[in-house]
Each structure stands twice: as C-alpha cells, then as structure tokens.
Subunit: 367 residues, 4 copies
C-alpha cells in the first residue's frame, strides 16, 4: 500500500493540491485517548503557508481539519479516525502551462514515466500540500504518545549553510514559536538577511532540521529489518526535499574511534531504569532498539526546486525548452517542513510502541 | 513482521550466531529466473570473515549456502526459495562472561528491556552474522534485477576519516577485488597504516560506503510514504553500524542553492528515454521516483563497538563494572559490510520493480 | 490494519452510522481506468434502504457518493481514490436506550469487551451502514476488472428456507432488477407471502446468495495461504450476517466420490485456452488457483438479529433484562447484502489480478 | 507475501514434496514461552502418512522436525523460530509421466498457467506435504495459546455422507486417539466398511470436520474486514480440499428465524465475565468479535482427486488423453487433514490474540 505508513498504528492519506481536498485515515489507534479537532488544528497551523516568516509563500489557506469518524464523547473508540481538509485557494491557471513540461528537480517526469498520466496542476501527490495529512495524522499519534509521556520537538539548526550554533546557545524548547523554528534567537537576523538576498536573486535555500524525542521507553524497535532507526529513516526520507537522515552522531560517526563513539554506561539513578550515559553518539538507539535516552535525528533539506531563474529543461516530447517558473513560491521548505518531520517521527514511535506492546504482554507468571 | 523485508519480493530471515545456523526465505520471486547456489555463494564469499585484509577477524567459517526449495531444473518456479547456512565455528566460551553485562555501543541492554531474555552468546540476532542471510537474499534479488540489466556496485570511499579521493581517482568498477573494497588503489597503503595503528591502540574505526545502481528504469518508487529513497534509507539504516544515509548530494544539499542543486534536463539521445542530465545531485531520484539515471547513495558506518580498551559499563543489576572485551574482533565493519549494503539495495530495487509492474500492466488499448 | 482489505488493490474504510458519514480510500488502482461518480452511485443505489421491496426498512438516505481524489480528466491517475458518503437521516433517539444493554445476536457485548467504549448509536462500525463503503470500493474494483472483461453477478437463491429453483428456472442475468435480487421471477409471490407473515410475527429471515464471476483468467490465486478461494471466503465472511461460504459444490463435496467430484478436462475450443469442463464442482478454482471457468460461490445469510419479539438479555452490569427492539428494521439482510457480496468478490479479484501481474511479467526471452 | 499467514504472529513456509524438505519461520512469537521439538513432533505425528487407519497411504516418512533458531535455554527468545523437516521417501519415478498431463481435480493446469513452469514431481507446493509446515507452525501457536489456557480440538463428524451422530453420542475429547479422529467410537466399523468398499471401487471419499476452540477471551477479532470468523474462514479454506466453511449454525442459519437464531444472554456466573448462553448458533463470534463462548467451525472436505479409475483429461498441448493415476494414494484426506485444520485455527487465534493486546494495553488511568 503505497499511501499508508505504519503496521499497527497506520496512516493512509489521499488528495492532491488541486482537487476537493486532502485527508487521511488513522487506523489502529487504541480506544480511550482524548482527542479533538483543536489538537490537530494546532499542529496544522504550524505548517500553514505564511507561517514561515520571510521564507514563506503568499498562498493562504485556513487548512481547517474536520474529524469524520472514530471519536465518541471526546475520546477515541478504537475504530478508524478519518479527517478531511478542503482545498480553498486553487489557482489552476498558474500551473496549466506546465502540462507539457518537465521541471528540473521536480517529480513531473517520474510521474509521467510511472503512470502515463499526471495531474499537472500543482504537482498532484508530489505537492507539499500532501504533507498536511501527515501533520494531522502525526497529531493523533502525539495524542497516543502523550499517554506515555513521550514528547517530540523539532527545530532548525542550519539555514543556507549558516549554523545557528555559531550565533547563540541552543534553546530548542521555544523553537516552535520562533520564525524558521530556529533553535536560538540570535541567528534570526542573519537568516533574515540571507533569505532577502536569495529571494532577490531569484534563488532558493536548504537547511538542516533536528528532531528530538524524549521519554521513549527502552525496548522499542525490531532487531533486524525494522530497527527503530531504520523505520525513522524511512519516515523522514519519505518527506519530499529530505536528502539525508542522520541518527545520533550521523555522518561524523564514520570519523570517530570506537573508544570515542561508545556511550559509556553508568548506574541509573533508580533501580530498573536504563543505565545513564553522559554522551549520546548513539542518538538513543543501539542495535535498532531504543535505549531510554533521548532520540536525536538530523535531516538535510534540499533547496526548493521552483526557482525564478531560467532553467534548461525538456518537454514531454523530449525537446529542449527554457523554463522560468512563475507564481510566488517559498524560498525554503523550512520552517514549514519542521512540523511534518515531527509528525513522521510521532507516527513511527506510535507504531513502534504498539508493536512492542504485543511482545511484552505475556501475562506474568504464566509463561 | 519484524524479520521480513519487502512487500512483493520479500526476504524473511532467521538465526543467531550461536545456534544451528542462519537462513531465510525469499518469497515472491517470479518464475523462470536462472539461479544456482554458486551465484549466492559468490556474494557470501565477499562477506566472509577474513576477506577484509588487515581489518578482518580470524574467525573463519566457510559460510556454505544450501538452497532448500523453489528451484526446479535450474530456474526459479515462483514458489518460496529457502536457504540455510550452518554455523560452524562457535566458541561460546568467549562470550559466556557477557551474560550479566551490558556492553556499551551494543544492543545487549535493549534486548533485555525488549524481551526480558537474551541469547548472550555472540549477540543473537544483533550479531553481524545475521547479515549473511541478507547477502544470500540479495544475491537472489540481483538475479532478478539482471533480467532487466540493472546492476549495483558498492565501494569504500572513506576509512577512519581518510578520503580515498585525496589519494587517487575513482575506479569503482574494480572495488570488489580490492582490500577494503576501496574505490581506488592508491589509498590502500595509507589505510593499511591507519588500521595497524588503531589495532595496536586497541581501538576501532568507521568509514563511508558508496552504493551505485545503474540502469534502473524511470518510474520506480511510490509517491508518498514509500518513496524509492525512503525505502532505500530504511534498507540501509537497517544494517547495524550504519548511522546516516545520504541520497545524491546528501547533507551537502542543505548548503546548496536551488539553481545549483537542480539537475538541468537535456534532450535524450533516443526518443522515449528519460532526459539526460550533466549533474546528479538528485542521486537518480526525484519526488521519490527513479529518474532513469544512476542512483547514488552514501552510508556512514560507525566504528565497531567491541574495543580492547577498558570501558565503563553496568551489569543487568545496574551496578558499575569495568568492561574489557576479549576475543579477536574486527577493527572495522568495512569491508564486510559492503556486500551487505549492496544486498539491501538489491532487495529494495527488486521489490520496487515488482511493485511497479502491477501498475503499468493495464493492457494497452483497453483502459 | 483492521480496516483495510487487499494487498495491492486496497480498500480502507471509515465511519459509523451516526457520525458525519462513511467513506474510504482505494489505494493501488492502476492509472488510466475510466471512472466517474455515476458508476459508483449505480452500485450504491442497489444497496440503499428501501430498495429491497417488502423486506426493506423505511430509513431512506440518498447515499450520494463524492469522489475526493485520484481522478483527473475522467480517468484514474494511479494515486489514492477517496470517497465520502454523508449521513443524512440519523435518529439517535431510537437507539439511546441501548447504551447500557447488550443485544443478543449483535456485536454490542464484544465491542465493550474489546474497546472498553462503544458508540451505541446504531452499532458504530458494526452497523450495516459500513457496507456502503464496501460497495463504493467494489464499484471501483469492477471498473478495473472491466478492462479485462471480468464480470460478477450475484442473486438470491433461497429465502427463509424457500428455494427459488423449486418455483422457476434460473435466470440470474436479470436478478439485479428483481425484488430480492431473486434468481427467478416465479418465486417472488411466494417470498412476498413469507415476508408478510414473518413481519407480522415480529420475526426475521435469512437466505442464501449465489455469486458468480465470469471470464476470470486462469492463474489467479496463490498456492498456499492466499488461495483464491481462501481470500474469497475471507472477503465474504467479513460481511456481517454471513455464517457460511461455499466454493463450487460446497458442503455437498463432502458427500461425493472422487469420480463424481472431479471435473473431467476436455480439449479447449481454441489452442492455448484452458481445457473445457462439462461440470463445475470445483467452482472455477483448483488448488487455490483459478481455472478459467466460472467462479461459483454461495453464502448463508443469517436472520437479522433485531426482532420485535421480547428477548432475554443482560445489561453492561451483567444483570438480566427483557429486551424489545424498537424502531423499524429490515426483515432480512437480503437483498441489500447482495451488492455488498458482489463488491467483496470484485475487491478480491482486483487484488488477485494485480498480484498475478507482478509474477508473469518477466520480459519474454530475457529470463 | 503469498507464503505467509498472520499479521503479528506470522508463519512463512517453504518446500516441495520432492525437494530437500519443507519448513517455515514463525515470526512474532513473544519471548518466554516454553517450547521444544517434542511438542511440535507430537502434532506432526498425527498428520503423518499411515496414521489414518484404513484411509491412509503406505508412504511413510518419519517427518522429524528440527528447530533451527529462536529458542534459548528451553524458551522462546522473541526472535524468529525456524524449523525444517527433511524429505526422505521420494519416488520421483511415480510422477514423472505426469509432466505433460493435467490431472482433473488437481492444481496442475493452474500452476502451468500461473508460472509457466511447474515442479511436476508430486505437485510441488500444491502437495499435501506442504501442510506439515502448517502443523509445525500451529504447534508453536498452541504453545502461545496455552499461556492463556486456550485450547483447540478437531474431529471428524461425517465421512462419505455417513454421520457419526447417527451411530453414537458425541465424545470429541478422545477423538485424537481414534481412527479417522472420529467424534464417537460407534461409527468406526461403519466407516471402515465404507472405506473398504470405496477403495476396491478405485474411488475416493470426502467428509466433514468440526473444530472447537475453548476459553477464547471475549474481544478478539476486528470489526470490519478482519472479523474473527472471516480470518478463520480464510485460514481453513486455505487448506487444499476444503470446499466450505461454516461458523456456528453455518448454512442452516439461512433457514432459521431471528427468534431461533439469536442466542439469548443470561447473567454470568461471575461478575465481569461475558454473559452465558444456552445455545450457540453464533459459534462464539458476534459481529466478527469473540464472545467468550466456544468457537465452533465446520469444514467440508472434498474427495481426494487422485482416483484409480480412468478419467478424461488433456495434456499441456490441450489434446485429449485418458488418465489413470498410478501409485498408492489416500482414499480420503481425513483424518490427516484434521491436525492441519486445528493448526490453522491455532495460528489464527494466536495472531488475533496479539492483535488485540496492542489495543487494550493503554496503561490504566492514563488515557
């Protein structure tokens, strides 16, 4: 099922940027979880066009979510939770000249090769709009995770090559309320200047997002193919524009010695808890299984491919054309991609939590 | 199913390093593919202990594969292909003192938290030995891919922070026959010196592996959650020791402008073929769908956690201990990990090839 | 995923009888299939309350389907096809006294035991209303099957123990237009009399439905667990009220000799076609794989459990109560169940068709 | 995955009747379950050729099972449990003349149409020998179910049209030790006479098997597509020779009134338990969810298609031939099919038990 994610806590999505709307079904959510539309709407509002400060677009949609099933008297019933977000602001005329063109950096050509037909209005399923359904599904996952006190945060640590840590100390806890979801306050004017410069040049930017999950119990993840980090990599890399995923020390792990990279174990503060560590090169995952420590992930986000500068391209007949993308586009997928990456992390952890529950639930004293 | 990979071309594996042996079942391989044990054995021999030159261990096993089903008169029948590799050289006494300890950098603690029981002899399913079953399954996948002329290569581009490209020009085509599966000849003495130095220090090393798939048709991959790069990231990150996966430009994409990162399209040499590009920052995948160009991936491999130096750790009761890992261990997972990463890439592409076949097979002229 | 059916052609449904509405997502439908809302509406109209003649209810809803995604310029794009059917006529007051009761023959008690919470208004997911989403999904499956000229029909062969074949010759081709979807015209007055009598007695009836699929190519179905008949049995038994599924000779097979039951093979009329048979005890499936002949299935439908007569029951506290179900209910699930069974057969065959396509698509002359 | 059964407790099988052997992998079995080869061997011995009394074949194999992984110190570790049963007694010469023929009632033709190639020695995957792997997997499932005190029995209630209940009272508890796994002692001489008569006529017989599962907790099964009875029907119909599956009242439900069919609820003996019933027309399942009462299933088993009498058939070229099956064959799939049906029931219940565990495990007081 190409449009579903998860084995036990499953999100199936649908919708294009220029149809009736987008939506999804969360199946497998346990009963008894408090859930209302406001919780989902709060996450969606962070992904909304225009929320990104200088880097955002002018396309504005309210992105109002409607729950269609699975809730009764304010709690989940254990049955499928469907939701829908209507499309409001569709300007098909902006896109209709793209029917015969393949844009560099976009999925246009691949869709034509895959399906032989393509909804050329705004990218169809490859549109960033598809991610609103992920954010809604992720909000439901977070409601489940909250029952176990698991929390997830995400923030931007680098934009266009400028690292936030060169300008201020990490303060990820307030990132969601800052422009760019920046990890610190001090870097904001520097990034603003860069964005203005790039915008006037008709170009676009990329960046790096950091995701952290706290209070994840030790023992989540499967030993072989569905290692926790493998499924997280799948989840994050499935977001368009992500070109790399790092767990813990990431690429840098390749340059460390074993004696540096190993996170030494120290006795826990309370008996029965996982051991303490003073470093976290593992990123909270060893052998594919959570250690109980914070899970740390980084994603590289590529620059948005829709640039105002002229580009060499071809049409569906394979003939050379010069392409100049009109319309008003985002300069950077950051920060709108940040709640999407958070949502994918939540969906993964919710699924892995349920997968683990089946394993350790042999009634004690019976086996 | 935690021990299965793939939706249509599926590998399910079993076995521990200190049981009867390891093996697996490939289900969903089409009928009529030429396949014999020699093809599989050839890939297994590249993963065998001792094949790694200076970085390898002295544990030697023949790792002889036996096909148990699914082949008739030299070709696949379309039914499950099972294989088995017996364990030969088990020295349980080397490991028995680890029953009560949790080794830093290893999965020991996670297994105890997950299952409440752990086969402490050599790591159980978290042992590197498990990967032999992946290599065997990957060889079967490669037999299928060969019917479409798809080929995969893998080589080492960096070891312990020393980049091969600083010493010689890329020559990946011969990498499989070089020590370390190195991408060039010239770096070999430099890496040898580094390995000797690290071994005498009782420490270990990591590195970076590059995987390339050629002749992959345009159109593989699913638009949303099962993007081709997402499933490849899942596949590669599921190999123990991998801490990061990059597609195309990878982490560097975060620092490029859109005008740099977009691979401009030029008319193909033959009508109907995908457009040509002179760059490949996309790594052969756009919007999660293959473009027809070479697929380029990089994996960061962490240093092996079993080091000879003393380490702080705890036992199952959470009490502090000083751990010194005995036995003879590899200095680096490279190059033995190289055929494993190649196998996981092959398994992913075989599955995606079959997934695509169902989509485009509406008889022409009927729809 | 408890609310999904199919591996490659997948239907995921949602919705309760007393929420916003019901709907679903079909994922995996190939691109290029002609599809519009009218095709789906036509099937839905056959399932609509009031369509059943004397046996039906007076609850009337238009059951208007809206396609939300996956169609562009009148054909499928290969992306998920979502649809929604709003609930219109909800009389919650009819049901609110059932919150604390468990009705015999209903799922009430099981839901409470399973989830600890239950949407008691009209049965939640166990409501017959859920089947409208199956009918819509099945209509999409039939659009795919039509590209291969595969057709499915369903009709009623027995009602309340009265067999149609005792009154007239089989004429299944016109069944969809007859009351009760009856297999012949002559039995109609007899069934009408029976229904009137049972209704006045405050009781309900069951019956037997026959499903036939024609022009199914030989070779569909998997050899072991996903035999074609096994998946069909799963599909049909998943419809509430079905208590038995028969393939071909069904229960009667247990009383036949091998020499009677074997369908002898005779040369086909055209070379390359499957052999002809003059009998069809196999029901078009041998060893779990379609033979190319008509697939014949029968389902036993139990009487509707909501009866007007008083019944012994218990409440959620386990205390004895006397239950008398109010409201106006159907006397028999037939004929409204008939298009549902047809839809489930279509969903199964569409999935099996795509599953087979991946297997036989090794390019000729390459293997 | 065509050779896998189950979502969380999964059995994947491999092997043909004339290859190295058959086997399988059980994945998803929780850790801490007591399991040894003897438990599995006991079930296998009941399926062994020659165990069937007069109805059995003379092909004798020890069918010795070997556990290859997943067990440590006598208990399951939570990792995949693989097993292998070597083929011993292969007389390929008995079958080689069938390479070019399609036998009526067999899967030969379907395999050729499906795969274009067929292992004609003994039927390949369609051989009854494949079911030994199901019995082994089922024995592991029963070990899990035993931790919840769930037990399953199966027995023969009808053979060649002769019903046991016409000759003696039901005594299913001892059926496993009787010839034909008969439900009573008194019918044995009658069935023996029938078998002798049919054997001398060169013909074969079918029959009906009854399966009962006790102590299944209320709440197993999913509301829509994976109703407990739907998955059980899938499981049982996936056994070759089964042509019908009945739940509870089965086909007879179609002829009952609602007032007869509803099982009235009475207060339970202990508070918190499911209500009592004095009838069980539901067969222990309502709305697809277990009620806590005994689960009752019946399967119709068709006569074995390999008969000694001459039959009309065709060869692969479609030319008419007269077929006379040589070799010594069983007269009836009963009783060897009985432990297979029991195993499939166990596999289904084990999977459904784990599927339910994930749902009800929200820590109390947190939601």
């Amino acid at each position: 099922m190409s449009s579903s994610f998860g084995r036990l806590f499953t999100l199936t999505t649908f919708g294009e940027s220029h149809g009736a709307g987008i939506g999804g079904i969360v199946d497998g959510c346990p009963s008894g979880i408090l859930l209302d539309e406001a919780q989902i709407q709060r996450e969606l509002d962070r992904r909304r066009p225009g929320s990104g400060g200088l880097a955002g677009t002018t396309r504005r949609e309210s992105d109002t979510v409607h729950l269609l099933s699975g809730i009764f008297e304010g709690v989940t019933t254990g049955t499928p939770i469907a939701f829908f977000i209507a499309n409001e602001n569709q300007r098909s005329k902006d896109y209709s000249d793209l029917a015969e063109l393949w844009r560099p950096g976009h999925a246009d050509m691949g869709y034509d090769k895959k399906y032989g037909i393509r909804d050329y209005r705004g990218g169809g399923r490859s549109s960033g709009r598809e991610t609103a359904a992920r954010v809604a599904g992720g909000a439901i996952a977070q409601a489940l995770l909250a029952t176990e006190s698991i929390s997830i945060s995400a923030c931007t640590v680098e934009l266009g090559g400028i690292r936030a840590s060169d300008y201020g100390a990490d303060a990820p806890e307030d990132a969601a309320d800052r422009p760019y979801a920046a990890i610190c306050e001090e870097v904001l004017p520097v990034w603003d200047d860069l964005v203005k410069e790039i915008r006037s040049a008709g170009d676009t930017l990329g960046g790096i997002v950091r995701i952290e999950a706290r209070n994840v119990p030790a023992g989540l993840g499967e030993p072989v193919f569905d290692k926790l980090d493998a499924v997280l990599a799948h989840a994050l890399m499935s977001v368009g524009a992500v070109k790399a995923v790092e767990v813990g020390s990431g690429m840098e792990a390749a340059r460390m010695h074993g004696s540096e990279h190993n996170d030494a174990f120290f006795p826990p503060e309370k008996a029965g808890e996982p051991p303490r560590t003073t470093t976290n090169h593992a990123g909270g995952i060893l052998g594919g299984i959570s250690t109980g420590g914070p899970i740390i992930l980084h994603c590289a986000v590529k620059p948005i491919p829709s640039i105002a500068l002229p580009q060499n391209s071809v049409n569906r007949q394979g003939e050379a054309v010069t392409l100049r993308v009109g319309g008003r586009h985002d300069i950077c997928a950051i920060p709108r991609i940040v709640p999407v990456l958070k949502a994918m992390t939540a969906l993964t952890l919710a699924d892995m939590l349920l997968r683990q529950r089946r394993m350790n639930a042999v009634p004690e004293g019976r086996a």
